[in-house]
Symmetry: C2
């Protein structure tokens, strides 16, 4: 079942009903929920859980490296539990659908030394935009 919960327990993360629910909501593949969506789903299982707790918990999971924060649009951040395998995102410009994708090669190596300006680069984020099959045919 929940790999995420296992890992968190193993790391000595203090477990509470709220944290468990948040972790459970996030568990799975191709999950890209906003904080408020996570909250809405968490409330179904634990009606008293507060928005602040969801935000706090998400922030911690991000710090722990267990989930990723992705900014695919200019609106709410989304949280991606697929932090294990590096990947990028493909976003429909019309309906906002999001897919995890795996481009060939490593985009990091595409940036020549002369274009690094002395920066120590540690990460690269790639977002492909276009129309999903549904929206393209509409």
């Amino acid at each position: 079942m929940s790999d995420l919960l296992e890992r968190l327990r193993g790391r000595g993360w203090r477990m509470t009903a709220q944290r468990r629910v948040v972790a459970e909501v996030l568990d799975g593949e191709h999950v890209h929920l906003t904080a408020d969506e996570v909250h809405a789903r968490a409330v179904e299982r634990l009606p008293e859980i507060s928005r602040a707790t969801v935000y706090n918990t998400l922030g911690e999971l991000v710090s722990l490296g267990e989930i990723l924060e992705v900014a695919t649009d200019h609106r709410a951040k989304r949280y991606d539990p697929n932090a294990h395998r590096p990947h990028q995102h493909l976003v429909c410009a019309s309906c906002g659908a999001i897919r995890d994708v795996h481009p060939d090669g490593n985009p990091l190596t595409d940036l020549p030394e002369a274009e690094r300006f002395g920066f120590t680069i540690s990460d690269v984020e790639v977002t492909y935009r276009g129309l999903c099959p549904n929206c393209a045919s509409a």
Copy 2:
């Protein structure tokens, strides 16, 4: 001086004091201001200019394709007058400094057909993150 103003005039864009000031503030290389930063600089030259006008004007310039909207952090959008030459961004994770960069190759071609899920891809945005020389040595 202002290429941007020239082009806008040539396109029959109705010129007002406010629009001129916004265009002037944005003119230049490696400019990546937020809307409120644009407003702050515009106010120095034209004290009565309103926030709404700055937002409206920026939105129009984006629609006209004269400036780009970039989301390098999870906070305010930034506006990049360098809409002529395709480029990507390099961002310091510590101080937020931004540089325009030009990676080798075309990231669009790095996404294999099997990873496109029927999407019609029209654009790709790449953000490199790391530490700038200043922040790395601190």
